[in-house]
Symmetry: C2
Subunit: 181 residues, 2 copies
DNA sequence: CCATGACCATACGCAACCGTATGGAAGGAG
DNA sequence: CTCCTTCCATACGGTTGCGTATGGTCATGG
């Protein structure tokens, strides 16, 4: 007997989130997509809001440690790690883009989402600043340049998903060079 | 007798858009906010979608010519104009941030919104690239740097509205200096 | 076996909206 | 004054979705 779990609902939620934003996180459509009725949903979750918060939790965990570990493993020197971070952002899957952007847009009107994404942003930012300091940059400048790079990456994500151009390899390398200058 | 117009509905729509995103653009809540009933709405618009498109039209006109004219009038040299453009973005009103971000998020799932914002982006980008070329930069590099600056500005808008830090004057000046380097 | 709990279907009440149909008030044109 | 148009109120039907209540099924431990 094939039975569902909270995780299955969360996974389906991310698909819906990527396709239609937060407003697409509706119980009955999700149930139909999963081939069950909402009786199942309300067995696993107290209400719609509980799914939202479970999704934010899951995303927060994946959004921090996963990326950082991956980059640490893939490159050795700080400059190479920065480049890898930027390129990874550039060629991220469209679904990931859409999820991240949907959550960021969501955060504009939801305090819990805002708090979650702020924690993720802060960890990524601190990681980036640490890399920059490792290249010999002063702490204040490293922090400022990290914020700048982070703005560029957010801009790339958001612009791309609203019809903008995809950054080329040269674009990314140019940006990283400027950050390191 | 105080009577409404399409423009009044569009203006109320922008307030709602800034507060709650596209999903807040609902006919009956808007009517209540305006102190009328939806009978008025359906006199001025064929349906909900017509309001959406009227708003996109209005926003597209304001988002291009207005800003560019303002900057051309406020500063003379290309470098000064770039700096003014960046600072203007930095200290834009929260309401404008919210509207722009809401439309950009909207564009991820709506073709008409996507087309509108793409036209606005292209005009701003071309304007920025022209400024950069005026400083003696090569066309290809100017175009690339313009895209980079645009990513920074989008990142600033979006990040700020999702709980991120507001760029300081030093941040902005630093970024403009890098773009011009 | 059978009793219990996990998992889900079904059915219901309720609320928020969309869009339509219709009539009424108000002001100007003739 | 009368008619016509503009603008809006009221009332209605229909859809979508939330949350609850209740019962059914199936596996499993005792």
């Amino acid at each position: 007997m094939r039975t569902l779990s909270q995780a299955a609902w969360v996974a389906a939620g991310f698909v819906a989130l990527a396709e239609g934003g937060v407003e697409a996180l509706r119980v009955e459509p999700l149930a139909e997509r999963l081939g069950v009725t909402k009786g199942s949903f309300y067995h696993h979750f107290a209400n719609r809001r509980a799914l939202h918060e479970a999704m934010l939790d899951a995303w927060e965990h994946r959004g921090t440690t996963e990326i950082i570990d991956d980059i640490d493993a893939a490159a050795a020197t700080p400059a190479e790690r920065l480049r890898h971070l930027a390129h990874r952002t550039m060629r991220s899957e469209p679904t990931n883009d859409a999820i991240e952007n949907a959550i960021r847009a969501w955060a504009a009107t939801d305090d819990v989402a805002s708090a979650a994404i702020s924690r993720v942003d802060e960890r990524r930012l601190e990681y980036t600043a640490t890399l920059l300091r490792s290249t010999g940059m002063s702490p204040a400048r490293a922090r400022r340049r990290a914020r700048l790079l982070y703005r560029i990456l957010i801009g790339e994500f958001v612009w791309r998903s609203s019809g903008g151009p995809t950054a080329t390899r040269a674009d990314i390398d140019d940006a990283v060079d400027l950050i390191l200058a």
